[in-house]
């Protein structure tokens, strides 16, 4: 029977479901849609309570027009993700107010499923997924109650039924997840969302890194296949800055030019080894997977020196790992690095040498003079380096809140304030070395990371952002020198927190970082991060390539017949328990011993053509049989008597006798 009326119970669930479904969109919906939502929800609830009337056609038209105008002019661009979702949400709302009949109610619920799906365009974290599942459940509850009898008012049963439906569909969900071809960026609609992200940027000026130190956001996570290298070895190399304008460090003037000189494939190892002088020394290779959060930048982080990489990744001349496209969504890449290597040990090209020694002329005169003086006193670049590092160690303070610096920033830092964060040390160190004519450059990236013992992976956060230096020596090539290590070795050996004064520690990582000071909060954070990371690695990272690899591995090939066969057999496996359960429930009840005796007796008599009629009692049947077979009269009658005694007299003492009589009956 087709119900036309809207079940009240269902209406209630639709209110709940709609609220839950729209809530995650609140962050990007314009205010006027939220106001409309409140207005419509209030109106509809008043209608539900029977206090207000339903909207007149003219009011409906006005609402639609208003929403249309809002959508047309409320967004900076019409063809983008947000306005489209706004349109869907507006339709969802207006339909809620308009619906009168059951079929319209169903329509609202179906739009709800769509809106739930759009939620994943904005976030695909584990939390968002859990939330999506809850939304789905509520919509299902609304759907179930919409199909129930109007008189049924048992919300427990309704929720149970919906949950049951959902659980039953889980195997199918899994199956489709594994087998349905991944279509890639089907949703590649431009988003209005500002892509601003915290993280290492493509230039460095004083204060940049100390600001990053305040952020607890995750930059990337790393899983090592083999043993974790020592904390002090974990220099996640990002960009190389050779250009200094007196205040700001940046990559060599034309960044895009570097990209012309990028090795996109690994097979050219010979050329790399000879022309680029990147020479791995065997013995300390390590393989690891990095899952990089969206950085909106196109460089990647690696332990120097990467020797194997895959996909749309390449290595530039200055050993920066680059991606072909900006990282706009989470990216997982696998690398092999060797920790022992030589980089340009033989000679530096004249251009390279120029780049690694250029200085802005009219800046920091004191440093420039002193560097030359010290070089004369020490006699060698190595000696000069040791002296300046000694100076750092003796006089300098490592702090997140350094004093601000003026025009001659290096001069002021080195000879006056002597308090700073990593960028101050790296910057001043490189400037000093260059002043003495020693090739040096700034390298930025991350240092260290926190091991999540629950899943044995490394979490590298924004507060781990770091800047250090590389100095070139004849015969040795580029050597990593970390002046911060000279001031605050704890920063390198342990973590940022360990190296700071107690006043500074309070600033690290913002609120979440501070909450982590409590043991159990820390544990929860790690637990949550581990779940998220697993979710990322095993679910979200399952893209087309992984799917192909997985299916190939599983089925031994990717021919359509294999996939079809596997799909059908797995589906059958999923359905089998349900069918078996149904069959099991329909099985005939087990026969009691008496019933078995009766069956046996009847079978024996059947051979003589004597069949008990449905409405015939055993006594009557025995009498009839006795008339047919007078020889067995006594036996038949006795069996009937015993049966009556056992079944109707409920006297089990006769059971054994009945059994014997029936089995001894030979016809």
């Amino acid at each position: 029977m087709l119900i036309k009326q809207m079940p009240r119970q269902s209406l209630f669930w639709v209110f709940v479901a709609q609220t839950i479904v729209i809530a995650p969109h609140l962050t990007h919906l314009p205010e006027w849609i939220i106001l409309t939502w409140l207005l419509i929800l209030g109106w509809r609830i008043q209608m539900y309570r029977g206090l207000w009337r339903s909207p007149k056609p003219i009011e409906k038209v006005a609402l639609v027009a208003l929403c249309g105008v809002g959508l047309l002019f409320g967004y900076s661009r019409l063809f983008a993700l947000e306005p489209m979702v706004g349109l869907l949400v507006a339709a969802f709302l207006l339909k809620l107010l308009e619906m009168q009949q059951r079929k319209e109610l169903l329509l609202v619920i179906f739009i709800g499923f769509f809106v739930t799906a759009t939620q994943f365009l904005f976030s695909i974290t584990l939390a968002a997924t859990v939330y999506g599942v809850i939304s789905l459940l509520l919509l299902l509850v609304a759907l179930v109650s919409a199909n129930q009898d109007v008189r049924i008012d048992n919300s427990h049963a309704t929720v149970r039924k919906a949950a049951g439906l959902m659980i039953q569909s889980l195997p199918l969900m899994l199956l489709l997840f594994i087998f349905i071809p991944k279509l890639g960026s089907l949703w590649n609609v431009p988003s209005l969302k500002n892509a601003a992200k915290t993280g290492v940027s493509n230039s460095m000026s004083p204060g940049d890194f100390s600001r990053l130190g305040l952020s607890n956001e995750v930059a990337f996570r790393v899983t090592f296949d083999s043993e974790l290298p020592r904390q002090s070895q974990l220099y996640w190399r990002g960009l190389v800055f050779s250009n200094f304008d007196g205040r700001r460090w940046s990559p060599i003037s034309d960044f895009s030019r570097i990209q012309d000189e990028v090795l996109w494939a690994v097979d050219n190892t010979e050329a790399r080894s000879n022309t680029w002088q990147m020479r791995p020394i065997p013995g300390r290779e390590t393989r690891y997977q990095v899952m990089l959060e969206a950085s909106q930048q196109s460089w990647l982080y690696s332990l120097p020196m990467p020797i194997e990489w895959k996909g749309a990744t390449g290595l530039s001349r200055d050993m920066t790992l680059l991606s072909k496209n900006p990282i706009t969504e989470r990216l997982t890449y696998e690398l092999v690095s060797t920790l022992n290597f030589e980089f340009e040990p033989e000679r530096l090209s004249s251009l390279g040498k120029f780049q690694a020694t250029q200085l802005p002329l009219d800046f920091n005169p004191k440093t420039q003079q002193l560097a030359l003086k010290w070089l004369r006193e020490e006699g060698s670049a190595k000696g000069l380096m040791e002296r300046i590092l000694r100076l750092y160690n003796d006089k300098f303070t490592y702090t997140l809140q350094p004093p601000t610096l003026g025009r001659h920033s290096v001069d002021e830092f080195l000879w006056t304030t002597q308090q700073g964060f990593c960028e101050h040390f790296a910057s001043s160190f490189v400037f000093f070395m260059r002043s003495a004519g020693v090739p040096a450059r700034v390298v930025v990236g991350y240092q260290g990371g926190e091991l999540n013992p629950l899943d044995n992976y490394l979490i590298v956060r924004q507060k781990d952002a770091h800047a250090w230096a590389e100095v070139w020596f004849q015969g040795q090539g580029w050597v990593r020198v970390d002046p911060t290590a000279a001031v605050a070795p704890e920063r390198i050996e342990h973590s940022l927190e360990a190296s700071l004064s107690s006043a500074d520690v309070g600033l690290v990582g913002g609120f979440m970082g501070r909450a982590g000071a409590f043991g159990w909060v820390k544990h929860l954070q790690l637990q949550w991060d581990a779940s998220n990371y697993r979710w990322q690695r095993w679910v979200l990272a399952f893209d087309r390539n992984r799917q192909n690899d997985f299916l190939k591995h599983l089925l031994g090939g990717l021919q359509p017949w294999r996939i079809t066969l596997a799909f059908i057999s797995v589906a059958a496996l999923c359905l089998a328990p349900i069918i078996l359960r149904l069959l099991w429930l329909q099985r005939p009840p087990p026969l009691s011993p008496v019933a078995r005796c009766l069956l046996r007796f009847e079978r024996k008599l059947k051979k003589l053509g004597l069949v008990r009629r449905k409405g015939e009692t055993l006594g009557n049947f025995a009498t009839r049989a006795a008339e047919h077979q007078p020889n067995y009269r006594e036996q038949f009658m006795l069996i009937a008597k015993l049966y009556e005694r056992v079944v109707y007299g409920e006297d089990n003492a006769g059971m054994a006798a009945l059994k014997i009589r029936v089995s001894n009956l030979k016809l």
Binding site: R613, K614, G615, T617, L618, Y648, G649, E650
Partner: protein, 306 residues
């Protein structure tokens, strides 16, 4: 017990030849403290059976011949002004007896038929606002002609339901008929019938019937029967809970009459036509109230064992 039954049956058979099964059913009905309706064509011995039953039970009885102009007061009694005492004095009607023989009950109007309702269900009558108890035990043994005969008012279902049993007598067998034809008028022997059972024996039978063991298997069968009458499309009306209780009560009495301490499906099957036939009706609208075709179907279609 069986001897008692045999003796009673034999006694009644003196006046009603060859009707042992019906006599036994009628006995079961009275043992189960139920009212009995005897239905058949005129001249089949209905009244004789009723008389004989009353006689062998040794109970006081009154007989009313129901006619179309009979009024409730004729049954229940009436208050008459007594000139001497200057008061109204109640003159109890024939209903104030242990056995009421309601002869040809369906010849009277529904109004008068209904006068019996309270008496049959509760053992009391209310006349002129005063409730009066009837003597105990109180049985109504009614006879009626089949509905097809002219000048009858069919008993309403509510009234029929009050009768525990409806028995049909049918034509006598050739031998019985011959004996009847040869013998002297059996009616004349009616006054000679002796009371064979005391009031105490009657209560003992009731007590025994209470104690009859009802096994799960037989209850299952009973419930299957009831469910069949309610679910099967051929029935327009299934057995009511009152009907089901009546069936069980009669079957238990039947078991006691056969000297058993537990109930058998046969007991139910034996009393079922008499107890149930007047309580069910066919869906086809065939309103002769006989219901026997349905009962046959019921007994044949419902499995006894499972």
């Amino acid at each position: 017990m069986q001897q008692l039954v045999t003796r009673l049956t034999a006694e009644i058979s003196k006046v009603l030849l060859g009707k042992e099964p019906q006599i036994k059913l009628a006995l079961a009905c009275l043992f189960a403290r139920g009212h009995l309706l005897i239905e058949d064509m005129p001249g089949m011995g209905k009244t004789t059976l009723a008389h004989a039953l009353a006689a062998v039970f040794g109970l006081s009885y009154q007989r009313i011949q129901f006619t179309s102009d009979l009024l409730p007061a004729d049954i229940l009694g009436v208050s008459v002004f007594d000139r001497n005492s200057s008061q109204f004095e109640f003159h109890p009607g024939p209903i104030f007896s242990q056995v009421l023989l309601a002869d040809e009950i369906n010849r009277t109007t529904p109004k008068t038929q209904s006068a019996l309702l309270e008496a049959m269900e509760e053992g009391q009558v209310t006349v002129e606002g005063e409730t009066r108890q009837l003597p105990q035990p109180f049985f109504v043994i009614a006879t009626q002609n089949p509905l097809s005969s002219s000048g009858t008012f069919p008993l309403p279902e509510s009234q029929l339901d009050r009768f525990l049993m409806r028995v049909e007598l049918g034509y006598p067998s050739p031998e019985a008929e011959r004996a009847l034809l040869l013998g002297d008028g059996s009616r004349t022997r009616l006054p000679q019938l002796k009371a064979c059972i005391t009031k105490d024996q009657l209560s003992i039978i009731s007590m025994h019937a209470e104690q009859v063991k009802i096994s799960a298997a037989v209850l299952d069968y009973l419930q299957r029967l009831i469910a069949y009458t309610r679910d099967c499309a051929d029935f327009s009306m299934g057995i009511s809970p009152r009907g089901a209780l009546a069936l069980l009560r009669t079957a238990k009495t039947w078991a006691v009459m056969h000297g058993r301490k537990h109930l058998l499906p046969e007991d139910i099957q034996s009393v079922l036509p008499a107890v149930v036939a007047h309580r069910v009706s066919e869906a086809t609208g065939n309103s002769d109230q006989s219901g026997y075709a349905l009962i046959d179907q019921l007994l044949n279609e419902v499995d006894v064992m499972s």
